[in-house]
Point group: D2
Chain length 446, copies 4
Amino acid sequence: MGPPTSRAYEIADPGLAAAGADRIAWAAGQMPVLAQIGDRFAAERPLEGMRIAACLHVTAETAVLVRTLAGGGAVVALCSANPLATQDEVAAALAVGDGVEVRARHGEGLDEYARHIAALAASKPQITLDDGADLLVALHQPAAGTGGAGTGAAGPGGAGAGATPAGAAALIGATEETATGLLRLRRMHERGALACPVVAVNEARTERALNDRHGTGQSALDGIVRATNVLLTGHTLVVLGYGWAGQGVAERARGAGAAVIVCEIDPLRALEARMAGYEVMPAIAAAQRGDVFVTVTGSRGVLRAEHFARMGDGAVLANAGHFDVEIDIQGLVALATGPPRRVRPLVDQYTLPDGRRLNLLASGRVVNLAAAEGHPAAVMDVSFALQALAVEALVIRPERLAPGVHPVPEEIDREVGRLKLAALGVEIDAPTADQLDYRRSWGAET
Amino acid sequence: MGPPTSRAYEIADPGLAAAGADRIAWAAGQMPVLAQIGDRFAAERPLEGMRIAACLHVTAETAVLVRTLAGGGAVVALCSANPLATQDEVAAALAVGDGVEVRARHGEGLDEYARHIAALAASKPQITLDDGADLLVALHQPAAGTGGAGTGAAGPGGAGAGATPAGAAALIGATEETATGLLRLRRMHERGALACPVVAVNEARTERALNDRHGTGQSALDGIVRATNVLLTGHTLVVLGYGWAGQGVAERARGAGAAVIVCEIDPLRALEARMAGYEVMPAIAAAQRGDVFVTVTGSRGVLRAEHFARMGDGAVLANAGHFDVEIDIQGLVALATGPPRRVRPLVDQYTLPDGRRLNLLASGRVVNLAAAEGHPAAVMDVSFALQALAVEALVIRPERLAPGVHPVPEEIDREVGRLKLAALGVEIDAPTADQLDYRRSWGAET
Amino acid sequence: MGPPTSRAYEIADPGLAAAGADRIAWAAGQMPVLAQIGDRFAAERPLEGMRIAACLHVTAETAVLVRTLAGGGAVVALCSANPLATQDEVAAALAVGDGVEVRARHGEGLDEYARHIAALAASKPQITLDDGADLLVALHQPAAGTGGAGTGAAGPGGAGAGATPAGAAALIGATEETATGLLRLRRMHERGALACPVVAVNEARTERALNDRHGTGQSALDGIVRATNVLLTGHTLVVLGYGWAGQGVAERARGAGAAVIVCEIDPLRALEARMAGYEVMPAIAAAQRGDVFVTVTGSRGVLRAEHFARMGDGAVLANAGHFDVEIDIQGLVALATGPPRRVRPLVDQYTLPDGRRLNLLASGRVVNLAAAEGHPAAVMDVSFALQALAVEALVIRPERLAPGVHPVPEEIDREVGRLKLAALGVEIDAPTADQLDYRRSWGAET
Amino acid sequence: MGPPTSRAYEIADPGLAAAGADRIAWAAGQMPVLAQIGDRFAAERPLEGMRIAACLHVTAETAVLVRTLAGGGAVVALCSANPLATQDEVAAALAVGDGVEVRARHGEGLDEYARHIAALAASKPQITLDDGADLLVALHQPAAGTGGAGTGAAGPGGAGAGATPAGAAALIGATEETATGLLRLRRMHERGALACPVVAVNEARTERALNDRHGTGQSALDGIVRATNVLLTGHTLVVLGYGWAGQGVAERARGAGAAVIVCEIDPLRALEARMAGYEVMPAIAAAQRGDVFVTVTGSRGVLRAEHFARMGDGAVLANAGHFDVEIDIQGLVALATGPPRRVRPLVDQYTLPDGRRLNLLASGRVVNLAAAEGHPAAVMDVSFALQALAVEALVIRPERLAPGVHPVPEEIDREVGRLKLAALGVEIDAPTADQLDYRRSWGAET
């Protein structure tokens, strides 16, 4: 591969490239799984000539993924799935230093965002990587691929069932990273409108265990402590929702010395929480007991007026769910005596008529990202390793997958597990012939 | 229901009935989930007149299940799935006090065991409950149902595909409690020989979490401590296998103060163990580090000569897997300077040529049962609640299930979770309409 | 040392000697700290010719201590501090096999107990080892040392201040293992009546950490599980008292999956419990929440009628404190509708007028000993290593200690720590000269 | 009390007062123990007219202490014990808003620092509060109290034994917060030079448990995660030193999912670490295993060339001890191929000849403060409550304490425990008469 071909980019400031290169280098050092894959890709070039378009958070970790794909032979274009998450220096480093087509600017508006998506779609990518499905959906629009921003008016036939839209004609496959994106794509598929296979990266087993559980567990508490400097030991932390992410938050909070209460509406999950040693109770009862509240349910209005009314003075309210709808801020505003005071950079304090003060963190936005750095690179390492191997699988065996949403193949999940163990310096036994014969694996239940 | 009808039984000593009744009463007090189901069954009589045959461990907890089924209207017959587990006083209480057809005697031989199975099969049960599938398999034998013991010689056609065997003619369905039994039944089904639906009770989610994980976790360590009186704190415990049961053993051992090492050949499970904070390494390396070793893999020869050769003086070897094949006793015998000394009631001490002593517990049999009491009644409560509701489901909606092995319906799993929470005195919220609308459950991933 | 000299003994059955020898051998294998000391004693013979009398629990672990002292050159006599704890086969092995003067019989009455004490006192020991101070107090009686049992009528002068009583004339020093014994001895010393130095073995730092905390923590829960087969996971365990032993019980209960509530009347300890993540509340509130209650306070009537009245059906009551006064059994009897039913071998079930059943374990006696085996040998290893080194210190430098109760010298505590680490196979760094110079130890607070 | 009297101050910018007031208000809300004391002080005015000089970190938490003392009637002057910790807006708020004599400026040089100390000394305080003893030592200088900076040349007699120096003439007593300060003062006392009693606040039991253990535990890990965004789960963290602070770091690291190794040169502490379930080994062995290293020993050169040489690529080095001497940076420089690269704001990366990269955090300075916010306000709440009550005790009963270093009276420790429990909303039982009689407290050991 020669020097990077100069290509188009739309970024904030090319002068930030050197700073961005440092930041990417640090992230790369934290992502040994992707590094192992990158070494192999560089040797084998499995993506030679493949056109890949990615609409992801433009961060240092994403840059490592982009380099891995490019190192495997692909021509990669990148825009931003979340303008507030864009690191301009990283965008600069990729654009100027690596010659990647980057179209992303921190704080870009909706119009600019749409224009960037459209520009990427216009290049007729063969593979897309999405974080919310915007890019892949755009490729399914009738007018997509004509290159014009704002030309999204659907003609007759729309994105419904029928002939493959022009924008999707070259598509071999796609990956998606979020539950929300998968929901959109599954609905598209139900009405026969999805033109290619999509790999559900965030449903992989390694992803669930690392990203949802351990990543969220550490970063949610990290965000709360940074925002408030509260001492968790000795206090009571209430976790609302006991899915993978809620399990992680509860586990880390207990590990930090807090007494933990879990609220959960699903009886099986509630039972699992109780069996893990937590107190389990309705939210209305927990409201009176908690010092810190963390919502992580994927649902709306989980903490609302009836709960605020019962909380003690100084209660801290944080959301670690994807959307900012889990804490009913309108309900808080309605109860309060006036507008909130900003008592610390990310803390809005609402005062109730009787003088109690409730502290809302980061305006109810996901506290992991808003008050901390989101998932550690070690977590993104696994997510993006899954992405890289899913892309490779789509490329090298396109015959295997029909249009629709597909799980990450188990052998990829297993391979990422293997590489992650190697990265951690952990060796394990191979099964003996006797074991293979007697029963497939040690782990099999008795 | 009038006084119990006197029926046939084959038990060790009817005079033990009073002692058995006490023991059952204690167990019943520990099984509030089954009690709630029992109250409903007594009111609704969903099993009225149904003939149920059960081949289970004849213990006080099983007796509570039998009473629950009988209280629901069924006529229940019981034999023993494991002669060494039979509690003769419980058998007496059920037979004499409840008028149940019990055919079980502690320590009964294989002939007697076969005779008991055959006697139950002869009554043409409509529902069977199995712990290893012996009873259901017997019902599928050509000669089964003729009432004679030892007449198992298969006629032409055997138990292969084809017409329903006479013994199975009345069968509505069955439940099975063990992985081993399910393996047999699935193979039967693959060759078209299974005549009825079978519910895989031990694969239910509540069962996995409670029985495999928490039940085994506590009882395996309990067995080891009873057998040796070893102090776990400060010592290193090696868990071989990180399935559900291995997770439970590791978690409880860490909770007891031990430093825990996990050995696992599956990379995903190995990664999960590492992410849970355990050291993970090959067994050969762990052999040099451990003080106590627990196998729980479902595999053969997990600990063998190469590991024994590296263990330190005083190492303790225990198996918590179902079969006694996980520790290679022949390898231990071959290494030792002579026959083992029985240094405590359940401890055989093997001396190696250099003087090191290795202590094998319970001859490598499952230490939970051999050295402790097996699962606590609170665990069996959930297992048997699943059994009772699975039986009810088979009876009241027989049209739903085709021959084959079926999972426990999710609504039953959920109902058992709900009842268990109630039994623990744990209340949870119902979802709001808003939540139901926005997303199906709080626990949904974000 | 030639073959054991035959000496007097009073034991249950000399024929049990072989069984006792096996049991002692197992215990010895679990006591590597004492083994290291024993090896040195055998080489150095620091106790050559010293007359030592011990009034301790006559168990296999004590036998290992006796052999260690004898191996160091001492002539040891042994009687039992608790007739119910006496292991007759161990008494036989020591008497017949080792030629030790043993006077102990399981279940011996108070008269026989007094006679045994008197016989040991009559031999004018130079060192005593006590577990409750009975032997040392007897040596301070005016008539002690005359060899007659039951001649304890104090002549003029009694055991008050003044001349050394005849029985204590030969005394170089003593050790004491219990808080109760130390209380008696400190009171004697306050009135000037203690004739020799006493080393307070149970106040050593290694003893506190291992015996009180980890020993009690594991064995108390072990006793509760053996007595009831209750599943701790998912249940709420209430620990009353948060001293060293209470900390151990709370830590192990949490480690076993229980939700733990601590009740404590000392604000500093209560705060430490809360900071350790436990819920802390008054006993009356905890009574309504707990499933299992464990008293470990050293106080009287900790659980009483007002608490019983609020407990839920099936509550389990256990005492892990030294005396059986912490649970007010009379209060329980008064509340109950009738005498308790013995529902399991160590479980008395009291029924309240509204039908709730409370389950008292081991009649309120210390559950660690009554329902399990008491402290593991690994714990006694440390206690008895402290004993052995304290005895040696008394012998080889008698000039150092005046009459009174003395702490275990810090260098002995440290040496036992060092030996225990070696026994566990744990290596640590020696301090560098730089570190010694800069500050005395790494562990020093900053 | 009228409006604040305008007094002298030397601060960076009076215009910051409003921002400072907000910051103090937030801190006050996190310090409910001090608030309870402040309410009582305001009512009782126990410090009426007392001149108090404090040389402490000028932070929002300290401001709350200053207000508490002033509210009790004292006239307080404040300078900074650490110019880098000074929050200029807090200094402004105290000076302008509260009329406190504040002499502190962020980043002030040594001369200015000495001038501020001298100015406070010149006002002949009756009580001093110190964080390193500089102010109290200055008051003992012959020339102290003359008001001149830089006049510290000791005349004949120096600060040795003899007549009270003029500066100390008014002194009733002092408090000291650091081990280093106490060391200085104890040495002064040994040579007869200490003129007043000093209360060792940091040796109080509540202080040890909260500040050293839980405060350092949380904030050290917080600093490491903020500096690196490392995922602790799945990695190995090595804690060097197992004093109170090391215990806290180890406990929190385990709670965060790390595998924890402890290095400790004191055998008793090493044993306690092992008994707590940690791996314990020499630092040279841990060097090869660890991913993250935290020194917290109070010693010099704990991590040095021999350890660096064995660490893996990417190792993270952090110090949580008071001084920046625990990691031998010169040794690191000597090993590295060149000067470090600043790869993240607080991360210096040293590259070894074979390519391994070691990441030093915050130049080896205490990571809690350098990379996070130091102890949470909830921790300082307890420290400063001890300070306030110690000052009150010195004032209202000056007869009780002779010159020398004194522990915090136990009743103050207990009172702070009581107030902290109240602040946490935790109720506990009062002892019953029966309990008081039978034994002094529940917590007493058995």
